[in-house]
Subunit: 325 residues, 4 copies
Amino acid sequence: MTSALATYFARLHTALLEAEAGGEVPELARLSGARDEHLGLALCDLDGRITAEGSDHAFPVQSISKAFAYGAAIDLHGHDYVTSIVDEEPTGEDFGALSLDRVTKKPKNPLVNIGAIRTHAMLGPEQAERTERLRAVLEAAAGRPLELHEETCRRELAGSDRNLALAHMLRAAGSMDEDAEEVVAGYIEGCAVLTTVTDLAVMAATLASGGTNPLTGERVFSRVAARQVLSVMLTCGMYDNAGDWVSDVGLPAKSGVAGGIIASLPSRFGIATYAPQLDQHGNSVRGTLAFERMSEDFSMHLLDGQEAADLDRRAAELTEIGTAI
Amino acid sequence: MTSALATYFARLHTALLEAEAGGEVPELARLSGARDEHLGLALCDLDGRITAEGSDHAFPVQSISKAFAYGAAIDLHGHDYVTSIVDEEPTGEDFGALSLDRVTKKPKNPLVNIGAIRTHAMLGPEQAERTERLRAVLEAAAGRPLELHEETCRRELAGSDRNLALAHMLRAAGSMDEDAEEVVAGYIEGCAVLTTVTDLAVMAATLASGGTNPLTGERVFSRVAARQVLSVMLTCGMYDNAGDWVSDVGLPAKSGVAGGIIASLPSRFGIATYAPQLDQHGNSVRGTLAFERMSEDFSMHLLDGQEAADLDRRAAELTEIGTAI
Amino acid sequence: MTSALATYFARLHTALLEAEAGGEVPELARLSGARDEHLGLALCDLDGRITAEGSDHAFPVQSISKAFAYGAAIDLHGHDYVTSIVDEEPTGEDFGALSLDRVTKKPKNPLVNIGAIRTHAMLGPEQAERTERLRAVLEAAAGRPLELHEETCRRELAGSDRNLALAHMLRAAGSMDEDAEEVVAGYIEGCAVLTTVTDLAVMAATLASGGTNPLTGERVFSRVAARQVLSVMLTCGMYDNAGDWVSDVGLPAKSGVAGGIIASLPSRFGIATYAPQLDQHGNSVRGTLAFERMSEDFSMHLLDGQEAADLDRRAAELTEIGTAI
Amino acid sequence: MTSALATYFARLHTALLEAEAGGEVPELARLSGARDEHLGLALCDLDGRITAEGSDHAFPVQSISKAFAYGAAIDLHGHDYVTSIVDEEPTGEDFGALSLDRVTKKPKNPLVNIGAIRTHAMLGPEQAERTERLRAVLEAAAGRPLELHEETCRRELAGSDRNLALAHMLRAAGSMDEDAEEVVAGYIEGCAVLTTVTDLAVMAATLASGGTNPLTGERVFSRVAARQVLSVMLTCGMYDNAGDWVSDVGLPAKSGVAGGIIASLPSRFGIATYAPQLDQHGNSVRGTLAFERMSEDFSMHLLDGQEAADLDRRAAELTEIGTAI
């Protein structure tokens, strides 16, 4: 039997595909097979129940991996140590902004590239250990083995001058001792891991649960790490659109340049969307629309002055009253 | 009969007074009677039940008024219009940062001074109307008439060069037509309104409820405005310490330079603290400690992966097991 | 008898008028009568010999007055004092850039607006004294009484928000005690003094001579002040085009928004041009062309590896060989 | 027979050695043998007459090579092309400042590191060709073969993260296609060429003459290139102290981190100093004192309103009247 939520998702999927959303699919995303008509929606609640609709294309996780690398670094070194190296403050700047904070000389947060590169370097003394640890965390959060998209990896390495500049700046500032090229290579590899929208929903649910994968029951992150990951996602996750996102959607979220977005409603569920057309902030256009719609329909906004709705009951209501999605 | 929460508050109050908190009381705050030993705590839930402990000294609301002016502007002009003039993005910069956003030419958000001045100018075509409207909103949120501290007002006007610079910049940028000196005078007057910590708790509860004062039942803000005020408080409320605050406390909050802090747990309650010693970010030292403690004791962190605790039950547990506060 | 130099000037004037120079006459300049076909050239050597061609329209001196106010401040307070308040470093920024130097908290130089406003405030304890002193210095440098263009003054006062912002910032930074509105009013008045291109050539010759007006023999500036004025003109005089100007013309120069430019070849002569169409840097288009041409024709470039030519001899050569100007 | 200028130099040398100059010898300079008591002075006029006093220690030319690489690039590609890639504007920023100009996306000038690296990349399609060309130009300007200090080279390569960051940024910005590591290696090699203070004086004289080495008669630079090199030295040569230097010394100059400074009086002579203690701007302390003194004693300031003195005549006067140096 189809759940009311599944029916809602099916209708939302149709409505979004029909919408003239605009945005561009980056050439890099096409390399791993992104197509204009790709659109996937998935939700995983804390009982491990998954509702999914649309594309199950596997695409590179890209910057979404930054959030999981950050959680892994906290569990490896403790929140205090990590924060002493990489700050947790939002920045009005572009995700690739070049500068360390003028006063603290630290990267502003672990979700801008310079902070993500520095965080990646914390994952182990050697490149192999770092990439293995990150892959292990991503797989534990998704609840299954994940592949690497080798060609995305190669292509990004070939055009990694900006990231190499950032890594050399970290070394020049005395913030990082590890080899710049190795750290960037590992960081890029972590971004090229392939995930489906369902994987991402499970990963988001792992954060929503306080760190335990609701499918496998495995503890992936400590409660502190999960909460901290969601905290930086809330203030820094959506690039220079973070404030708009908090206003309009009201959930901690992280997007990737291949078109994925994850968001978590703590103690309730994780949601993910996949649609490869990006807006000028680098966020998925249809993904953003989907989240705005779902947030409103189910009162998911964390600051809304009322509890988020029961999903099935509310989905049934919405269907019954024939609300146009 | 004393509630378990009241007992908790009394013990927290004692513990905080004993703590060597450090920080400095600004000279301006002394003008309105701030004393080193001042410490007040108050909570107002959505049934209007108030629990308060410590100082009932009335102090200037200061920057906390920015949040309420912003809500008033949204209800007057709509969220879209207000956002077209003043953005809602966090900024890594100082609260008095001078510049408009390089690309949008807008103030970054309504809680930095330049954004707050621009927002104040939206409250009406004339200075008198603007100040009356803001006073009315503050009083409706507090649920009682509020006084102005004339001398704070005079003193701030005499040292208002930075705010005048910001107002003239807004005019020079074509962002504001109103008279610079009048807008600054009105803005300063809104900051000099006297509130007790209990007033602030009720005002915070008004935001937590989605805009309705839980004491008086009066609708002060639309649901959209209340949610939007909390959204910018979450990402921009604690100056350049916003990220740390979200990590450590996890509630939308706003502080004022006279030592007040408000925070709201949506659909649950508003809390306020008053302690005039400030840290280097301009936030109350003991207030911050109080919030970190309460957030942990009652699982108030919005991103914690579990529901916030029932206050009385948890307070009773904490008292019973003799947890050192 | 017409000198060879006068013949050269006449031909240069014709050639420049015919050139499709582009650029825009600002509306403000039209207020004091600027017309598209206005073009004036003048040179005054250290014997007081003047060669002039074209328009003798009197136009506001505008930012060129900044250089003379700076010289006056040095002679009033000494170079060390003035430099302790206003630095002498070039800046890559726009002439209206808002910020004080991040480290020194000083305006970068006396030719950007914030530095010019601060310098103006040094000219006396009261507004009347400041404006009188500046007028006296301008008149002494020009060698004759100068009028004020009242309407330019009024119009600039009405649109002085940017300058008021700068003045309030100086006060807020503790750099200036004088009343912001009075200082800005005096500064604007100094910019609205009317000069002809011949006046400007004499003023430039006064700087070239080490401070003595070659017409009147009056010492206007000490040698130190004159040299220092030329030093900041060289590195900071042409807004964000300073480096190009040094490369292409190689003379210390200052331009004004009404279309005037002065330049000095130390120990030789002062030159001025007037043409009200401005380029995107705010410099006169035809004036810049004239200087590039004259610099090349007479080897005026300070860094050229040879002495500047004798003007009449070289002009005769150029005429004889029929060089197309 | 000792010339009056030689006597002057000997006395200046003694006076400077006795002065408590302060400043620090960087560890890197010690690697090539710099000692606290090192102090060398040399002047080469356009007849090739050399007057020198003090240390003939050979030290790395360091950033002084940037000026010569720039001249070589202009003669190879033309001034217009070079300026289309690297601007010629002063910047208020630190010599290692990371950013390209916000509007033009070009390095601000060829004497800040990012501009120097980009300029070096213009010297040929291959690393070997680039380093050979630069070495050939340095040798032609000095008039003799120059050695490389291999260990300085190795040490700088090992700590070249900042320069690698800059090179990768240039590539990321689409400004440079050459391999980042190769360009940085070649740039560093050019900085490690060993010169004596006499070599530098001859090199400065080569610029003063309009590009011809006064010892060998070889044309090293075109007149345009020599003039352009001096132009950027004037506005950008002394790091963030450029304005002070123009005010106090008034000559185009360039300093190197090993303690050398060159300056040129066009059509007259080149001067160099060597003293390895550096001030906070990275300029030689005793070198700066020497230039301030010589500029004043011989009226060398380009903007002084009088011709520079005849060196021997003025040196004789100064000696005769027993002026304390």
